[in-house]
């Protein structure tokens, strides 16, 4: 199958899948006793959190690739993954407080997942700030690649530090995933996870396309300047 066909197929598939996932989470899954309906956000809150990790993994590989080969294609992928990963982090940080406010009356809890996501959000933001205001072209790509590697390698360290901090200073457990007893729940979670991952890939591919076009435009500008 040609790449553009796959890409086109994903485009058409992604949003409807999300919609179906939401319908499932809303209608199909039985209500949860303690938190009631708002707990249904969980079926998207968790998948987006996982997607942000995937983003970092791609940034790591792409940044290493760029430093090794100095080919712009890698740089385009790194930037795209960082943007989409940042979007996913943002969604986690938006849905988390909504959930917390509804279920426990507070907008923010320093629970492990939310705290980790906040830190990762800041690392992504630092990367994007560097890309936006950092430096001129060739230097920028190198700097961004190094920062991308630093940020991505730090992810497991962030994860453990937050986890251990939480176990030493426990607040009431908030976002626990009491084992999903009902098969409908497990199915819905898996469905939503796949839907969100497909969305992630779709957005990533689109963003990569934007990056490639912009690189081409920059190349043409350069050629034009050279001639004039």
């Amino acid at each position: 199958m040609r790449a553009s066909t796959i890409s086109r197929g994903l485009d058409l598939l992604a949003l409807p899948l999300i919609a179906i996932g939401m319908a499932l989470a809303f209608l199909y899954v039985p209500g949860e006793r303690t938190m009631g309906d708002v707990q249904r956000i969980f079926y998207f809150h968790v998948p987006f959190a996982m997607s942000s990790f995937v983003g970092f993994a791609i940034v790591l590989v792409a940044s290493l690739g760029y430093l090794k080969t100095r080919r712009d294609a890698w740089d385009v992928v790194a930037e795209a993954a960082a943007e989409v990963g940042f979007l996913c982090c943002t969604i986690v940080l938006l849905t988390g407080p909504v959930w917390a406010r509804s279920a426990w009356g507070v907008w923010w809890t320093w629970d492990a997942r939310l705290t980790t996501t906040l830190i990762l959000w800041m690392v992504y933001a630092a990367y994007l700030v560097l890309r936006a205001y950092g430096a001129e072209d060739a230097k920028l790509k190198r700097y961004a690649a190094v920062l991308g590697i630093v940020g991505a390698l730090n992810v497991p360290i962030v994860y453990f530090s937050v986890k251990w901090f939480r176990t030493q200073h426990p607040s009431s457990t908030f976002f626990t995933r009491e084992g999903l007893p009902v098969p409908a729940m497990a199915f819905t979670l898996r469905f939503c996870l796949i839907a969100v991952l497909i969305l992630f890939v779709t957005l990533l591919l689109k963003r990569i396309q934007v990056g490639r076009l912009e690189a081409e435009r920059d190349q043409l500008r350069y050629e034009l300047d050279a001639r004039e």
Partner: protein
């Protein structure tokens, strides 16, 4: 290997000697660190600081803030005077420049820490003498990580359009987990508990140190290229 080490110590000696002549950065760092301690002391009404909880955090915040000052400084001079280019022309392995600079930053921040701790102990009435060796170990481990990542990222920020302003933005999010770990370990040590109780945290700091010493060693070269 000998030539390599000579390169490292060459850079280290140059940076330290340069600093010793003016003592600008060290003075600023030390004073800033003291200010942070005093400011926080005032803000939080030091009648009774819970040794276990607030004091370690305060100490490490002071180190983190003054540390950034030193990191910025270690590169701004080079950039301003074109010294960086000269350094790159020298027959030095680029990674040796990294190690040398990292060590010079480590020494400078370490000295400031050595000055801050007694002041901190006195001003906030936190006993420190009984656990001095353990405190030193924890501080060294944490600061090593800070110096490693910090030197690499300071190289980036000094070459960027935003210059020094960028460093805190890119360094602090990366630093957070080890800030937490260092604070936790320091808290454990200051309450008189044995080091083994902070074992997990120390391991995490150690891993961070190794990883980012390695990353700096490998990738500093990419940062320096002109």
């Amino acid at each position: 290997m000998n030539a390599y080490l000579r390169g490292v110590f060459g850079v280290l000696r140059k940076d330290l000697r340069l600093e010793w002549r003016s003592r600008e950065a060290m003075t600023a760092m030390a004073f800033f660190s003291l200010l942070v301690v005093v400011l926080f002391g005032f803000s939080f009404q030091t009648e009774k600081i819970d040794v276990r909880t607030t004091a370690p955090g305060l100490l490490w915040v002071a180190f983190s803030f003054s540390g950034v000052l030193g990191l910025n400084r270690s590169f701004s001079l080079e950039r301003e005077n074109g010294a960086l280019r000269a350094l790159m022309l020298a027959p030095l392995d680029r990674s040796a420049i990294f190690v040398g600079k990292m060590l010079s930053n480590l020494v400078m921040i370490g000295l400031v820490e050595a000055l801050t701790v007694p002041l901190f102990s006195v001003l906030l009435r936190v006993p420190v003498l009984s656990c001095l060796p353990q405190l030193t170990l924890v501080t060294c481990l944490g600061t090593l990580g800070f110096a490693a990542v910090g030197t690499l990222l300071a190289g980036i920020s000094s070459g960027s359009r935003m210059r020094e302003v960028l460093l805190p933005l890119i360094l602090y999010p990366i630093w957070i987990p080890i800030l937490v770990a260092s604070v936790e370990a320091t808290g454990t040590v200051l309450s008189g508990k044995p080091l083994s109780e902070a074992g997990d945290w120390l391991t995490l700091i150690g891993v961070f140190d190794l990883v980012f010493l390695g990353v700096g060693f490998l990738f500093f070269e990419a940062v320096l290229e002109e």
